[in-house]
């Protein structure tokens, strides 16, 4: 019994933890690394970290500066008299809450629809063994590389004929029909379920639908979380879709709303307010990222990207 059981990462003893921590300073073959071999790597990584933190830092710093301080040269490296009122001004200077609500409606709908649809499609490509399946999957891969601009104009024409331009539907409904990248990701994951396990469930009389929810769903949870996060980020940050379909301010999302508001009322909205508004836009994403951080990396790496 004891040899087969794998220790879950959360339940390891303090001694093991210490051993693991020490293992960081060792090579895979157990020989000890010299402290300076990691030092060069660390210096490079710290420099890279500073470069990659710059935009976020500069966004927050600029958001907190007063108009006078923002216009100073040389620029101050941190706000000497932080003006938190910039955030209030940003939210009230433009219909921020309307934009926020529209973005939220689109994002939540897209996440729910794309998780369900991509999961069902991936199950069909991974767990049911039907003739021609793997050939058709090549078509899925091929669509991954299709440049979307070629579909842009006919799609606009179609939604316009349906009278749905200036509604949120053109940005939500396509999520019902899956997307090649997510199908690909989930299929890789579902392939890990042993075929005999699925067959045994079928012999026991379970329908595909039951197997989908009882066996495949729990297994695919990490990958589904990854799909949820990626589609949330993609939809929250989408610019071109809202630019084309949402001209009316009442239905605009944050991305397009902030841009049009800036270009139309250039004199009313200052850059510190724009930075403050942009920061508020990315706060939900940063929260999502910190809560589900491990899924960003695990979801892709565990399934094995091939």
């Amino acid at each position: 019994m004891s040899t087969m059981i794998q220790t879950p990462a959360e339940n390891i003893s303090p001694q093991r933890k210490k051993a693991n921590a020490e293992a960081y300073n060792r090579r895979a073959d157990g020989t000890k690394r010299s402290w300076y071999s990691t030092l060069t790597a660390r210096i490079v990584m710290i420099i890279l970290s500073i470069l990659f933190l710059m935009p976020l830092y500069w966004m927050i710093v600029s958001a907190l500066k007063s108009n006078e301080e923002l216009a100073k040269f040389p620029p101050t490296l941190w706000p000497h008299a932080p003006e938190f009122s910039n955030f209030v001004k940003a939210v009230t200077a433009m219909p921020f809450l309307t934009f926020f609500a529209n973005s939220a409606i689109i994002t939540v709908s897209v996440v729910v629809l794309s998780v369900i649809s991509n999961f069902i499609i991936a199950y069909g490509f991974a767990c049911i063994d039907w003739p021609g399946r793997d050939k058709l999957f090549y078509v899925v891969i091929a669509t991954l590389f299709l440049p979307f601009p070629v579909t842009l104009i006919p799609m606009f024409d179609m939604w316009a004929r349906l009278g749905l331009v200036n509604t949120l539907f053109p940005l939500i409904l396509p999520a019902m029909f899956g997307s090649a990248f997510y199908v690909f990701l989930l299929r890789q994951f579902l392939k890990q379920i042993p075929q005999p396990m699925l067959d045994a469930a079928r012999v026991d009389g379970a329908s595909e639908w039951t197997i989908l929810w009882r066996i495949a769903f729990p297994t695919a949870m990490p990958a589904l979380t990854t799909v949820a996060i990626f589609s949330a980020v993609g939809s929250w940050n989408d610019f071109m879709g809202p630019l084309i379909y949402l001209q009316d301010q009442k239905v605009q999302t944050l991305s397009i709303g902030l841009q049009t508001f800036r270009s139309v009322n250039a004199q009313d909205v200052t850059f510190n307010q724009l930075m403050a508004a942009s920061f508020l836009v990315i706060v939900p994403l940063l929260l999502l990222f910190f809560i589900f951080q491990r899924y960003f990396i695990r979801g892709i790496t565990i399934g094995g990207f091939k």
């Binding site: 935009p55 923002l70 040389p74 069909g124 610019f239 630019l243 930075m275 990222f289 990396i297």
Partner: protein, 330 residues
């Protein structure tokens, strides 16, 4: 539920098809067409993937065909399209702005694609380091990918401001004079290229997945044989990462052909100064939604589609000699 119990003989009929080991029985059965069980599986399988089938028909095949058809017409979106033959294509190849947009896009691609691959590979290697605080590096390197393009563009507008931007302060410290990067036709392209590099975290995650698929034992063997870290990179990491590199290269090329949002926001939709940031997609967008020339814009889209397809096939064809799929099964 006792699903974990093994089901008698290891290879059931379903897994035999994919395993391909028992070559005796299944082929004769398959050559006579589908039996009842396979037909049932086919029906169930198609039912499960039916949303995707509908999606491909409505959101891919229909628009591609319709785009090609529209490219031979004059169409404003209001009245019915009128047939003009190859007129749009003739116009496209003589339109100086198409030439300008194409050369801007080429400039972008030639710099941004290799730079992006190098930066994302460096990030992936950094994310894969065996140091205690590696989770922090992963978080930090990925975080800018979360910042939407419009917000990143606002940050760069402030950052590069000719009067009070930090960029000029740094130039001053090194003895340079103030420049207005966004006011220069080449400078604006370089600014947009640099901006895009901060989003390298996405491609880096894909590289990271590839790095983790390389068995550790190969490195151990190489170290025993006395291979230096540099030698290990070029003899092990690089060849075994080549399928992932190919994927990132093709998506990188396709992405740079479509560069749009940053240029649109930085230039407020104009593509100025002097059309320096007028990328191909910007010009396509302007024709379609600014000038209501949907037929002409469709022709531009079809040209982009063909160029993208040709480049992807070319890269794939060139890569066959270099891409190594040995560790793929892992």
């Amino acid at each position: 539920m006792s699903v974990t119990d093994t089901v008698g003989p290891p290879a059931g009929p379903a897994s035999a098809v994919s395993a391909g080991v028992q070559t005796a029985a299944p082929p004769t059965r398959r050559s006579r067409g589908l039996n009842a069980g396979q037909r049932r599986k086919l029906r169930t399988g198609l039912l499960f993937i039916s949303p995707w089938i509908i999606g491909v028909l409505v959101f891919i095949i229909y628009p591609v065909v319709y785009s090609i058809a529209l490219s031979f017409t004059r169409y404003s979106g209001m009245e019915a399209p009128t047939w003009v033959g190859i007129q749009n294509y003739v116009t496209a190849f003589t339109d100086p702005l198409v030439g300008k947009a194409a050369s801007n896009t080429l400039f972008y691609a030639i710099i941004a694609v290799p730079l992006g691959l190098i930066i994302s590979l460096v990030l992936a290697i950094a994310m894969n380091q065996n140091v205690r605080e590696v989770a922090w590096y992963r978080t930090i390197f990925y975080a800018p990918s979360l910042i939407p393009a419009f917000a990143m563009s606002f940050i760069f507008i402030v950052f590069l401001n000719p009067q009070f931007g930090v960029f000029n302060r740094v130039l001053n410290l090194f003895g340079g004079a103030n420049v207005n990067l966004l006011g220069d036709p080449t400078g604006v392209k370089i600014a947009i290229i640099l901006m895009a590099q901060l989003g390298a975290g996405n491609a880096a995650l894909i590289f990271l997945a590839g790095l983790r698929n390389i068995p550790k034992t190969i490195y151990e063997a190489a170290r025993v044989d006395g291979a230096s870290p540099l030698r290990q990179f070029f003899s092990i990491t690089f060849p075994l990462l080549s399928p992932v590199l190919l994927f990132n290269l093709i998506t990188g090329i396709s992405g740079s052909l479509q560069v749009f949002t940053e240029a649109f926001i930085v230039t407020n939709g104009t593509g100025d100064p002097d059309n320096g940031a007028l990328f191909y997609m910007m010009y396509l967008y302007k024709n379609a939604f600014g000038f209501a020339e949907l037929g002409y814009a469709s022709a531009l889209a079809v040209i982009l589609f063909l160029v993208g397809l040709a480049l992807a096939l070319l890269v794939y064809w060139l890569s066959r000699r270099f891409v190594n799929y040995d560790v793929e099964a892992g």
